[in-house]
Symmetry: C2
Subunit: 280 residues, 2 copies
């Protein structure tokens, strides 16, 4: 399986992908799922892929072959906007699927894939797209600032709660890594290392590109701190039944029901009377 | 969609299920997915189901018809252990699938379902099972104390981090509700209200059974408190690049590089000397 996230902020884009590709538990392989095309000062284009590796690698190979044909060819290095880049990739997907129509009918899963595309081309803004296996695509907006592909559900709740367009890049990178941490804990088929790429708006070069290994000190610290913080947060929320009479409901049906001392129910006057009697 | 959790603790079992059944966005219905058979002092059997409603309701109807045949019939009210109850339900599933073999071949999804079974029968311990649509089943152990069916991924990370067999029941109920909160936030097809049932070990009667509505004060408080706690926990973790030189890497490539004030690097003696100079 795969997990990839692209998060578009006012200040730039964070990309992260896992690197695990497995064709069964005894055949675990590591392949990069993040592809970067960069010409400093002109463009940074990042493509992440999930799905059948043979299919996604073919797409990347076709994109690279077009680039090799030179500056007159319509390619990722000659398109003028990120929207055109998304269209070009969509067309490439369709082309490959057209050629393999017979194979797709026999085994559709061999040609299932999804992509996250992001980056910036000089003269255009920094943009983020999700591209489907049919070649169509959607773009991130102010309301929907991230895309996930692959095993996305475990890492979604934290993104939904925290992601904001005006986050600083370091905070956003932390968020993406926590989203990965949740996924890695719950699904063995998504594996370290994580490829992380930070693109800062208008720089037109890769800000930082790093492979975060299992023993990475920041990631280990983050993972432990997040576990502790979650347990701590959990411990500080009232338990079910602790207030608003809930505990009453719980106890009335329990075998360890402690009958309320009747004194509490007796009106003050009566108690006072009883005390008087004894006293008298 | 559906989300159900069964959590087996040393002190009992927590059951929770959502109640949303939808066949399209303009046709949202609420059906109970939690079925309880109780004979106080003798047995409590709880069955939760996910999957095709026509199929899961048929299973429950067949189980009830057997009970109606009286005390000589092998039914949920006459089995001696929870293991036998799980086997009986497994057989009932297989019986129904055998009868509908032609339909299943045409449309397998009509007969897809999964079940969580739990409870206690006098003389047996409190036990929890997950039953598959093939009629086979697995039992919760000390190492694997919960089962989820339906839309389970969003609510799994918190269970993985926090669930422990020696939890108190009120804490466990809180955990299950937080797991629901995460699922409800991320998936619109899982909906309130939530059916919650608490069974305390050796009581042989339902401890508490409650439908938690959207405006339930405890659930609303929990939902808000958890959101705040998560954001707070997130804010307190070092951001990416803040330590171990990471910030250096980030900043060296950034356009907004702020050179460190050199004053900070000046040894204390020098500062003291400067103060002295002024004073003198």
């Amino acid at each position: 399986m795969t997990y990839c996230v692209g998060l578009r902020l006012d200040r730039g884009i964070i990309f992260a992908s896992d690197t695990r590709t497995n064709a069964g538990v005894d055949n675990v392989a590591t392949f990069g799922k993040m592809h970067v095309w960069e010409r400093v000062g002109d463009r940074v284009i990042v493509l992440m892929s999930a799905g059948n590796l043979a299919f996604t690698q073919s797409i990347v190979s076709l994109l690279n072959e077009r680039i090799d044909l030179g500056p007159d060819e319509h390619s990722l290095m000659t398109v003028n906007t990120m929207f055109q880049a998304a269209r070009l990739i969509g067309e490439t997907i369709r082309e490959l699927r057209r050629n393999e129509r017979d194979m797709i009918e026999q085994n559709p899963s061999l040609f299932s894939a999804s992509f996250i595309l992001g980056g910036q081309i000089a003269g255009d803004s920094h943009r983020l797209f999700q591209i489907y296996q049919e070649g169509n695509f959607i773009e991130a907006t102010k309301d929907n600032i991230y895309f996930q592909i692959g095993e996305h559900k475990y890492g979604k709740p934290i993104l939904d709660r925290v992601a904001k367009p005006d986050m600083r890049m370091g905070v956003a990178a932390k968020l993406v890594l926590i989203s990965f941490d949740s996924t890695l804990r719950s699904n063995l088929s998504v594996g370290m290392p994580i490829d992380l790429l930070i693109y800062r708006k208008d720089e037109l070069k890769v800000g930082e590109e790093r492979r975060i290994e299992e023993n990475d000190p920041y990631f280990r610290k983050l993972s432990i701190a997040w576990s502790e913080a979650i347990r701590d947060a959990f411990a500080h929320i009232d338990e079910y039944g602790e207030d608003e009479g809930g505990i009453e409901i719980l106890k009335t049906r329990g075998p360890d029901t402690i009958p309320k001392p009747t004194e509490e129910a007796v009106p003050v006057q009566a108690t006072a009377g009883w005390i008087k009697e004894v006293d008298g």
